[in-house]
């Protein structure tokens, strides 16, 4: 380290300069925060691909996936209040029926909102 040591604190200049600078803070609830591609958000489950194997439920480290009966077949139900968003389920799924979405605003006052249900219809369930 052959840096020449200065006696004057660089803070004096830095703090003064910051008075005229834009704050670094994101105004989050007013301005939407952006998440990058591949973010591990709320799950999107495609029932048409599901083979009812139950591997996702078996491998889930948080035991957040419950297998429920939908139209006579066993399908995964995601309990988001227990989910740790590791996406082991997506990795274990042999048919890629589970995908992640960029949706992360999961706070809720009602626990019953915090599930991703396997929809019996043929429409794909949207993230919101």
């Amino acid at each position: 380290m052959s840096k020449k040591k200065s006696r004057v604190s660089p803070m004096i200049k830095e703090v003064f300069a910051h008075i005229f600078m834009k704050p670094a803070t994101c105004k989050y609830p007013f301005v939407k925060a952006e998440v990058p591609e591949g973010f591990r958000g709320k799950q999107v489950f495609d029932i048409n691909l599901c083979a009812s194997c139950g591997l996702c439920s078996r491998d889930c480290p948080a035991k957040a996936i419950e297998m429920v009966e939908v139209e006579g077949k066993r399908r995964p139900l995601f309990h988001l209040d227990q989910c740790i968003f590791c996406y082991q389920c997506a990795e274990s799924c042999p048919r890629n029926a589970i995908k992640s979405s960029m949706f992360f605003e999961l706070a809720s006052t009602d626990k019953s909102n915090l599930v991703v249900k396997p929809e019996p219809s043929h429409q794909e369930k949207s993230g919101a």
């Binding site: 803070m11 004096i12 910051h18 670094a24 803070t25 105004k27």
Partner: protein
């Protein structure tokens, strides 16, 4: 009619109401500018640019439940914050804000000393409030307030004598009125030292020992909540305004400045407000520059550095006022 004017001046302008709202406004400026210096946004939600945030905080605290600890000395615990607050506001009433002080006939010889004494009394009541809470952290915090205050009161007072010497008076209105050339130009050394001593007096970094939350949790406020806490916070904010106002009166030419048209009282109030804000920003800037010193370092800094320097500063001022300035001015 005179009585009505007096009541208006004491209660509304430039008295209690004005001081209260000005204090809240200063608090907002302080928070906003500190946030900017730290590259943050600061208060942003309540009112335009968060200007109502201090008021919102105050009202919120007033609505909270009041809890008095079982072991507290209840009467003192209850009234000490209110008394401290009242004494601070009372002290401001003696400062000429719109050209004369709130109690207009109150200016008497030596009111500078009286104001300094009032500040001491107010700080003593702050100490009482912490001590009465019977909490170790409250006790330590309160003891620190007192230790620091007693130490820094002496240099602060010595430094306050600098402008008194230059003006040849111990009356604040006379000192303020005699500054055709602000004393900051005549005695800049006194101004710099006064700001440092004030920083300690107002318990701001690098001297905010009584608020060192990593050491003493909430300091003297630890056991307080609700309305009493609101008043403790307000006391602290009023103290900052008072300190800044003292600087304005003593070194920056008081409320006096150019009058362009209309009522001089309006312009004087405006100059006063602007000057106080400038001082608040300067103290906030200093706060942002430093880390908190340790209590022994704070006391050492006082007795070894600030006290001798303020004596020197006074001597220099006396010498200049006697031999140099009469020739120049």
């Amino acid at each position: 009619m005179l009585d009505f004017l007096l009541i208006f001046r004491v209660l509304v302008f430039p008295g209690f109401t004005f001081i209260l709202f000005f204090t809240l406004f200063c608090d907002w400026v302080e928070r906003k500018i500190e946030a900017r210096m730290q590259n943050r946004v600061g208060p942003a939600v309540a009112g335009p640019a968060g200007i109502l945030q201090p008021l919102a905080d105050f009202i919120k605290l007033l609505t909270k439940e009041e809890i008095i600890p079982r072991d507290a000395k209840k009467n003192i615990f209850r009234i000490a914050p209110i008394i401290a607050f009242s004494v601070m506001v009372f002290a401001i009433c003696f400062l000429p804000i719109d050209g004369s002080s709130a109690i207009s006939m109150s200016g008497f010889t030596g009111d500078l000393i009286f104001i300094m004494a009032l500040v001491t009394v107010a700080n003593f009541f702050l100490f009482m409030s912490g001590w009465a809470s019977s909490n170790p952290y409250g006790g330590i915090g309160a003891a620190r307030v007192l230790t620091q205050f007693l130490g820094y009161d002496i240099p602060l007072f010595l430094l306050a004598l600098t402008p008194a010497f230059l003006a040849g008076s111990l009356t604040i209105s006379a000192i303020a009125a005699s500054q055709y050339l602000p004393f900051i130009l005549l005695a800049p050394w006194g101004f710099v030292l006064f700001i440092i001593a004030l920083q300690a007096e107002l318990e701001k970094d690098p001297f905010d020992i009584p608020h060192a939350e990593s050491e003493v949790v909430g300091g003297l406020e630890t056991e307080y909540c609700g309305g009493k806490l609101a008043f403790l916070h307000l006391t602290r904010d009023v103290q900052i305004v008072l300190g800044a106002a003292l600087v304005v009166e003593l070194f920056l030419g008081g409320p006096y400045g150019p009058v362009f048209f209309g009522l001089p009282a309006f312009w004087y109030s405006l100059w006063f407000v602007l000057k106080v804000l400038a001082v608040v920003i300067v103290t906030e800037y200093v706060t942002c520059l430093f880390a908190r010193l340790r209590i022994d370092q704070v006391l050492t800094a006082n007795w070894r550095m600030l006290l001798p320097l303020s004596v020197l500063s006074l001597a220099l001022t006396v010498a200049m006022a006697t031999y140099v300035y009469p020739m120049v001015v």
